[in-house]
Amino acid sequence: MKRYSALGLLRNALDYNRNWPAAWRSPEPKKSYDAIIVGGGGHGLATAYYLARDHGLRNVAVLEKGWIGGGNTGRNTSIVRSNYLWTEASLLYEKSLQLWEGLSRDLNYNVMFSQRGVYNLGHSLQDMRDIERRVNANRLNGIDAEVLGPAEVKRAIPCINTSPGARYPILGASLQRRGGVARHDAVAWGFARAADALGVDIIEQCEVTGIEVRAGRAVGVATTRGAIAADRIGVVVAGNAGVLAGMAGLRLPIESHPLQAFVSEPIRPVLDTVVMSGAVHGYISQSDKGELVIGAGIDAYNGYGQRGSFPVIEHAMQAIIELFPAFSRVRMLRLWGGIVDICPDACPIVSKTPVQGLYFNCGWGTGGFKATPGSGWVFAHTLAHDRPHDLNAPFSLDRFASGALIDEHGAAAVAH
């Protein structure tokens, strides 16, 4: 891999940018691999990267049915934080956040991880109890967190409405200063480039149509580009996990729903942090280009259509205007939808399965983007050692039978 550098940028510019190499190759699939990752989203590419970097597994392919990063990786609001309620969840997301903090250098690709802070607003006494509980738990887990009053929120975010007369007045907030946003496409591209440099084959336009299981062991996949054998197969396909599981005769406790988001036209910088609210459902940040990036709620029905119902968008607009009355005249530019796979406890499954050599990483719900490096890191460990890392052991498939759910629905109303 030719490393990017300031000097390289200049040199290439002088040469009219005619000598930039491809960021990743487009190889033909081999007959067999040590490991196959199904799904070329951020999580899958990260898994391949960490397999190659940390576990010495370089004969690895990432199979992507479309184009890499074309699923939820490219369809989210790019928020990164680790201030989850339950210890199990917060430690996993914290691992991810720590990886984010060095990711640009690590990958030699600027993923523009911007630690501009994440505010979770409280609008009722119960919200504030939940915030207090979560912040205290985060701190004890070594995760930065603080509780702010409405005046401090107003000082930090001048355009927010802290009027006590609001329908749902802001009573306070939690703040994770290390949280922030990143450039979503760059994450997929950066991991792809770095994994490719370590020998990983990234194969686009290659749809997996079957998983071959022999004597309880997964031995390969059938694809639109032929059969490919593999010692182990990791499946990371948000929005398709159930379909892939079905190919191996497995069932997953997942339901897929539309989740919508939208951006405004680019405006001059007015909001330099991330604001989330559960009661007044909406979350918002402003991109480096100036767009307000806003997440709406989940549509209630199951849906794979990558689009949702308009009233959900209307509601998000109302929520944003509640919080930021001045944004009423700003205009929505683009609206889109993703598919979120949701587990009963709003926590992911990063797990071995009853099929030997077949591993699933799914059910990230609305929390997938922020988990990208951490998810890949623990999944790579799970594949390489055929057992979960301590961090993802609680997120195994058998928790649904034992009842050991990690219910992030409960107190963390906004699980984005």
Binding site: G242, V243, P253, Y301, P311, F400, A401
Partner: protein
């Protein structure tokens, strides 16, 4: 915004309804006869298909009836909606009622 046909009130806007998930999940007659895994399957595991889906909707702002809908989860097109206690509910409702009456006796 979907247009959902309530079997009693006719087509109404989606905002009048609440969603109830996959239809036809029957509560096991004897939960204690089930292993933990089987119980978990009933509790948490759903078909979640890409394509035709039988699901429950509740006319929450209308007649308060739960009913069944057959909808495609990709195109969102609704093939039909049906009363749970009537024909086409996907489960033989009348027979079911008789059977459970039996059980109670």
């Amino acid at each position: 915004m979907l247009l959902i046909e309530c079997p009693w009130c006719g087509p109404r806007a989606e905002t009048e309804f609440s969603y109830g998930g996959e239809a036809g999940i029957e509560r096991p007659a004897d939960p204690y006869a089930l292993s933990d895994a089987e119980w978990a399957d009933y509790l948490f595991f759903r078909r979640n298909p890409r394509g035709a889906h039988r699901e429950l909707w509740h006319h929450a702002q209308g007649c308060r009836r739960w009913f069944g809908v057959e909808r495609d989860t990709v195109s969102y097109r609704i093939e039909k909606s049906y009363r749970l206690s009537g024909a086409g509910s996907g489960r033989p409702a009348a027979a079911h009622i008789e059977a459970s009456k039996e059980k109670r006796r």
